[in-house]
Structures are given as C-alpha cells and as structure tokens.
C-alpha cells in the first residue's frame, strides 16, 4: 500500500501517524525504544556489577507481568470482558514449563546417583526413583498421568500455550454462547480460578499440592551457565516476547477488527445489528489472550524459581485488573505502564525498600500498609482518573497538538451552510 503518498490528505499529524504502517507509528516506536533501552541498560549495568542478579530477575519478571497485563487490556480494556481468571492461565503456563524443568533435572540427578550402583538401573527403577524424588514431599511415589510428557520440552512448551487456550476456548464457548456477560462473567471466571487453585492445593492433584514446583531457576542442560548470565538471557527473552506481543496487539486492534472489539465493549447489541457475530469475536480474543498469558507464565516462573497454587489464587487475577486500571484501560502502553509501575512499586514496598514512617504513636510499616496504599490508589484512579497513568500521555500530546494547530474554532455542523442558503 502506498500510504506514504497519501499522508498529505490528513488534516493533522496525528491522523497521518494513524495511517502509517503500524511498526512506524510514533507510539509503537517510542514503546519499542524504551523497552530496548531498559533491557540494554539493565544488561550493561548487570555486567558492570551495578545491579544484582536478583534485580535483573525482578526486571525480567516485571516484563512477563507486563505481557500478561497487555493480554488483560485486550480482553478487558478493548473488548470489555472483565475476566478475573487470566492470571490462572499465567499460572498454568508456569506449571507446564515447571514440570519439564523439574522432571529433566531430577532425571539427570537420579541417573547419576543410580549409575554409581553395581548394576545398571532398569527403567522401572529409574521411574520409581524419579517418582519418589518429586512426589515424596506429598507422600507419593507413583507418577501421575499429567506427567506423561514431562520429559519432553517441546510437549511442555506446547502445553504452556495450548492448555490455557483449550480451557479458555471451552469456558468461553459455554459462557459467551449463553450470553453470560458483565459481572456474571467476572464471577464465573473468578469461580473457575478458585476451583483450579483449590484443586492444585490438593496433594493428590499430581502437581505436589501446596509445595508447587520448585528449583525452576535451574535449567537442565545449562548447569554450566551461571545464574547471573541466565537471568540476562531470560530478561532478553521476556523483552523480545513483550516487544513481539506488543506489535501483534497493535496489529490486532488496528483497523476493523479493533473497531469491532471496541464496539463490543461499548454497545454489543449494536455490533450484532451490523452483522458481526459478537460471540465469535469474544471467543477469539478470550482464547488468544489466555494463550499469551500462558507464554508469559512460562517465561516468568523459571525466573521466579517456584510456582505454587497460591500464585493462581483469585486475588492474583484481580491484581491483573488493578494494574490495567491504574495504567489505563483501552490503550496498550497503559497496561504495560500499569503493570510495570505497580509491580515494581510492590516489590519495593514489600521488599523493605521503603522506609518506615514513624508517627510517634504508630509506625507505618510499608510491608503491611502497601496493600492499603494500592487499594486506595485503585479507588482514586477509578473515581478521578479513569484514563489511568496512560492519561498523562494524552495530556502531553494534547498540549503539543494545541501549540501546533491552535484552536479549531466552533463546530460548524454538517448542514449549517445549506440551511443558511435555504
């Protein structure tokens, strides 16, 4: 398409920018540049010892949370489906990759231990040893069926994406087909999330109950790579995933598809009368974003080192919505800003980074009071700044636009001129 030649037709620079090839749009370029700068800066600082490995991991994890928030923004901010279960998909992604990490590493350890015995170990012995290593903690040694493919990295990677996808597809099909929407859908997703986490808490779920999967920071085959290097690899992988997902999301919401999504958010019935099958669109976006959350989780938990059912608890999905609300719904960078700011602030406050405030009679410990602060900011943003932090960007661009073009003058009306003639 020869978009470049038609720029002059559009009144404002903003309009021209809107018609540019997506990857060259100003907001996309700024986003990618900032992402690259952060990643590159963190790498350089880590290599010169200015920031610790654990901080690199925090950054990498934050990028994964931003990715999940991006998905949440697509499903909620753009399409208006307030899913309070998308963090469950994130957790499932983590479990899927965690199973391979744990299995492969345990298998290697068990093999080297058995190799010291007088006789070569049989397959049965190997299985039993792995079983008791992994499941001894919940008093079992049989290997549950879910672990059938745990030894295969491609299978578990596929599971990290496909299991959330299939669950979302089935759940969404049932819910959207019966036109469950609004708060009822939110409650349903929340209930599903609760059910999943309760099931995972059970020892006989086959996923080690409340112990979850641990030791995930050790990647089999990469034992010789120090954590300081590995953490940078994951940071880069997370950054690349976020960058690509951002581009994909920009592409998704641009054009008629994006219009239909926002139309569904604002007036679902009207979209139907235009001939669009609203349910198909909802199902598509619900499923795709669930898979994106699966990918985000698969990248997050090897950096976190442990995944347990508490991660999937309903509150986590609510946090996801809070991040997107604080960052600004319905704009992609808003979700990313929200997730980054709130989760980094969260680790600063709860990690003891914030100094306690001594009021004489009472000392505010931020480790206890952070949630109050977060809740308060959520309420304030909802009441007074529905555009969230992303709204600040609007203020800036509007200010610039006003300086450039001046006042547009009074509204002329479509037929005012003709009426005067009549």
């Amino acid at each position: 398409m020869s978009m470049a030649s038609s720029w002059h037709k559009y009144a404002s620079p903003a309009e021209a920018s809107r018609r540019r090839p997506l990857i060259l749009r100003t907001d996309v370029l700024i986003f990618l540049a900032i992402l690259a700068l952060v990643t590159l800066g963190a790498t350089l600082m880590a290599q010169s010892g200015l920031i610790s490995t654990s901080f690199v991991k925090t950054l990498g994890k934050t990028l994964c949370l931003c990715l999940a928030a991006l998905a949440m923004d697509l499903v909620w901010g753009y399409t208006g489906i307030l899913s309070l279960g998308h963090f469950a998909f994130f957790g499932i992604g983590g479990y899927a990759i965690g199973m391979w990490l744990m299995w492969d590493r345990t298998e290697a350890i068990v093999q080297s231990t058995l190799a010291r015995g007088p006789l070569p170990a049989t397959d049965l012995q190997l299985q039993e040893a792995i079983g008791s290593q992994i499941f001894g903690v919940v008093g079992a040694s049989d290997i549950p069926w879910i672990w059938t493919l745990a030894g295969s990295l491609p299978a578990q990677l596929a599971a990290a994406i496909l299991v959330p996808g299939v669950i979302a597809l089935v759940f969404g099909w049932l819910a959207f087909r019966s036109r469950v929407a609004g708060v009822y859908l939110s409650i349903l997703t929340q209930a599903g999330t609760l059910a999943l986490s309760l099931w995972l808490f059970q020892n006989d779920s086959g996923l080690r109950g409340n112990n979850g999967l641990s030791g995930l920071q050790n990647v089999p085959g990469l034992e010789s790579v120090p954590q300081s290097t590995l953490s940078l690899w994951f940071l880069w992988a997370s950054a690349v995933a976020l960058g690509l997902a951002y581009l994909a999301a920009v592409w998704l919401v641009a054009g008629r598809f994006g219009s239909v999504l926002r139309g569904i958010r604002d007036d679902e019935a009207r979209v139907r009368f235009l001939g669009y099958e609203v349910e198909h669109y909802k199902l598509a976006i619900f499923t795709v974003t669930a898979m994106v959350c699966g990918i985000a989780g698969a990248l997050y938990y090897p950096q976190a080192g442990i995944v347990n059912p508490a991660e999937i608890a309903p509150i986590a999905s609510i946090y996801l919505a809070v991040w997107v609300a604080i960052g600004g719904r319905g704009r992609l960078y808003g979700a990313v800003i929200g997730a980054a700011v709130v989760s980094l602030a969260s680790s600063w406050f709860t990690g003891g980074g914030a100094p306690n405030v001594n009021l004489g009679i009472y000392t505010i410990r931020w480790t206890d009071w952070w949630l109050v602060l977060l809740g308060l900011s959520f309420v304030l943003v909802t009441l007074y700044a529905p555009k969230g932090l992303g709204g600040l960007v609007d203020l800036w661009t509007e200010h610039r636009a006003r300086r450039r073009t001046g006042d547009l003058g009074p509204d002329q009306g479509a037929l005012r001129a003709e009426e005067e003639q009549a």
Partner: protein, 253 residues
C-alpha cells in the same frame, strides 16, 4: 414485485402485556412504508422481532426469495441477510471516529479471521459515504462529539453503507432541523426506489412528505393500511388518536 418480508400471525407477550397481537405485515421490494401509531402500539417491538432482538411467541417471519425463517436466525445473521436498522436514539460508537464507524458498517466479510487477516481498503467507500451524509470533513472526528443531527446522519450513513435490502428506520427525523428533515425525506424516498424501506414515525407532517403507504399500529395489531388520507379517514384510527397530539393533524386530513 414480490413480498420481501412476510410477517404472519405474530404475537409477543411481555409479562402478560401483549406487545404484538396476531400481527400480519408484508412489504415488497422496492417499497416505502410508514408505520404510525400511538406510544405503546408495538412499533419498536415489531422492529425488534424482525431484527431478531426478541423472538415471537407464535407466528412466522419470512424473508427473501428463499423465505428464510428469521425467527430461527441470530441478530447478526439477519443483519448479514440484508436487514439494516436505524435506532430511534442515534446509536453510533461514540468512542470511535466517523471513518471507523463507517468502515465497520461497510458491506464486507464479517467473520473474525477474514476481518483480521484480509484488510480491504475501505477508504474510498468510507469517504464516499461520509460525503453523502454531509460528514466529509469530519472523518477523523470522534462520533461522540458530533451534534445530535450529525449523529443521526452518521447512523443513516452506517445503515446505507451496509447496503441492506430492507431498511428499518425508527424515527429518523427526531431532533433534526427542518433542512435536515427535508434531506432525510429525499434520502428515504431515493432509497425506496431500489430497496424496501420501513419508516416508523410519530411526526405526521414527515409521513405526509414521504407520500407512501401507511400502516397504523394499535395495541400490537394492524388497525388500518393504505394512503395517509385513507387511514386518517378511518373511524377506528380517529378513535385511537382522539385526544392524542396527533389527532389534530389527523383531523386536518
């Protein structure tokens, strides 16, 4: 001329209230038809039934050469089959620009995958339609900041952009200035040369200008049908309108 839409023996009850009572109605293609009637006569419910928003308790609604049963189709399927609707209150996507609103309505594939992957250039169609409804200069304007009349026009543009065979238009002239009304009349009469157009209207003067066959709806039933003068002379119609604001105009006839 053959009947494009054939509504026969349709009834719909809401919580014991008979909104539509054994109603039969048919419209040819092309034809212009006005539906008038006092408040609560079932005019909007009638449109809801045809567009699939509500399902009739009894009766059939058949459409097109294949006599497809609309009562078994979803709203979106009905819309794709060629039935377009304009709401009483202007219903446009306020958060989106005029060109986005029109692009969404423009006749093209509707399924998600095609919409996402094949992105036909809608610019020409959108520009043309915007010019047709007097919004050529406001392509990038958010629909939410348009005036009431402009929103009406945008919605009419969206309706035409769908290229429907049957246009259901609910009080198109509401909130319009006299020049805008005149233009709406022209547009509807023009559209009715090739399409089936059903106009619901309170304003008798507007109906008179449409100069078409009129169906009078009362308590969910078709009370009279014919030219405006004919139905206004009908004693039952006079009865129904007696003491209502429209009665003065009806009596004039």
């Amino acid at each position: 001329m053959s009947a494009l839409l054939e509504v026969s023996g349709v009834s719909k009850t809401f919580d014991g209230f008979r909104a539509i009572d054994n109603l039969s109605f048919s419209i040819n293609e092309p034809e212009l038809r006005a539906i008038i009637g006092p408040n609560g006569a079932g005019k909007t419910t009638f449109m809801d039934l045809v567009t699939g928003k509500t399902r009739p308790d009894t009766g059939t609604i058949r459409y097109g050469e294949l006599s497809r049963d609309l009562t078994r189709m979803s709203e979106a399927q009905i819309a794709r089959a060629g039935i377009g609707r304009k709401f009483q209150k202007p219903t446009v996507f306020e958060d989106q620009s005029v060109d986005e609103n029109l692009a969404m309505a423009l006749r093209a594939a509707r399924n998600p995958l095609t919409v996402l992957l094949r992105r036909p250039d809608t610019e020409a169609g959108v520009t043309e339609m915007a010019a047709r409804v007097g919004l050529g200069g406001q392509l990038a304007t958010k629909a939410g900041i348009l005036s009431h009349g402009q929103k009406q026009w945008l919605e009419i543009g969206m309706l035409l952009a769908q290229e429907p065979r049957l246009l259901l238009v609910d009080e198109p002239a509401a909130g319009m200035t006299s020049a805008e009304r005149e233009r709406t009349t022209e547009m509807l009469v023009e559209a009715a040369k090739t399409h089936a157009v059903v106009v619901i209207e309170h304003d008798m003067e507007f109906v008179r200008r449409l100069n078409c066959r009129v169906t009078v709806l009362h308590e969910g039933r078709s009370l009279a049908e014919g030219s405006l003068d004919h139905v206004c002379a009908d004693p039952r119609v006079i009865d129904v309108y007696l003491g209502r604001p429209e009665s003065a105009e009806a009596a004039d006839a």
